[in-house]
Amino acid sequence: MDSYGSKAKALAGGTDILVQLRGNRFDIEMLVDVKSIPELNELSYTVSEGLSVGAAVPCIRIYEDSVVQQSYPCLVDAAFLIGGIQIQSRATIGGNLCNASPSGDTIPALIALEAEAVVFSKRGYRSIPVEDFCVGPGQNGLQDGELLVSIKFPPPKLYSGAHFLRFIPRNEMDIAVANVGVALTLDSKKQTVESARIALGAVGPTPLLATKASEFLVGKEISDDSLYETAEIAKQIASPITDMRGTINQRIHLVGVLTRRALQKAVERAKGV
């Protein structure tokens, strides 16, 4: 891959890249199948290090993994709703991330979960926080010769919960009009928010970490009002466009609705309801 530079691309699940190649979306000379690289196929978890998901691990393996189901249900939410089963058998969250679509369906979940992208090149390994990984619509932050190896998730904290929601006009097989990932940690009484991360998708050129909304929620007591206010603040960062999948007004409005609903579910999970 190194020798082909920007003319080389990695093939993981292939559910996006093959379609893009047929549509002449980019000019490449080399497609490298990375599914056979063992490191990219590992799904591992330790209590101290958390979860590591190889870039070539298909969604179905992620959401059927009992550790992921137990400790990272938000990741299940996200991986479970990419495409149909045929796509989930192939598609990877690594590919999803590298594809860097503004509406990429796992990315806000990854951002909320404080995931980091682990990247390898001849220069060695480096880690990039997922919120910094996408740099523009369809553009990731990988340099020529760099390969996404895995995505690392910190171990879940006590009294924490997370959820991912998207809105689509159909019930499956669709691209998000808007999507939202949230993660929060409560105090030991499970009443006050100690930390929060809210991430939005399809409402800007890249998936976004809604910093202001996240910070607003910290220290607040859980209530309909506080969640509503947080959602309203999240809407402020949204700068969507109108396209065939949705309008500006609709998308901003959906950020509010989805943020509120995702927060409620995350709170339930944090409380262990």
Binding site: G14, I60, G83, I85, Q86, M173
Partner: protein, 157 residues
């Protein structure tokens, strides 16, 4: 791009070898190289499921798999679902429940349904609908297809 690559694989329990171009999909090779036209093309971009095959135990859209990727793997297509002298219970149920009209999506639905019942012998209507959401049918409204899969499930017990 035009150089041919030699691939060895296993299709419907038979060892198969073929030559293909790097850019050819598994679907193209099945249909145009191996003349196994039971697997259908509806969209060529993974959104209709007509080309569903089972690859190493998982259902995939064969249009989104490069033929070179199946080297050393195991594939089941619609041609490999029935026994020599007997239909698979799902195929029988599709006939009895009138679960096909034009029939172009039928191979994809049968392959996907078989994979589901092989994994999960007790599935609900909701689970069937979710599992089959990647397969489009334009003729039936899915009603009789879902009923056929439920009937096949009963018959396999």
């Amino acid at each position: 791009m035009n150089e041919k690559i030699h691939v060895k694989t296993k299709i419907n329990d038979n060892d198969v070898e073929f030559l293909c171009e790097a850019r050819q999909s598994l679907l193209e090779v099945l249909r145009d190289v191996l003349d196994m036209t039971g697997t259908k093309e509806g969209c060529n971009d993974g959104n209709c499921g007509a080309c569903t095959v089972i690859l190493d135990g998982q259902i995939v859209d064969s249009c989104l798999v490069l033929a070179v990727e199946v080297s050393g793997k195991t594939i089941t297509t619609i041609e490999g679902i029935a026994g020599v002298d007997k239909l698979h219970p799902i195929q029988q149920a599709f006939l009895e429940q009138a679960a096909l009209q034009c029939g172009i999506c039928t191979p994809g639905f049968i392959v996907a349904s078989k994979a589901l019942l092989d994994r999960e012998p007790n599935v609900s209507e909701g689970r069937i609908r979710h599992w089959l959401a990647g397969n489009l049918c334009r003729c039936t409204g899915y009603d009789k297809i879902v009923r056929a899969v439920m009937a096949a499930q009963e018959n396999t017990k």
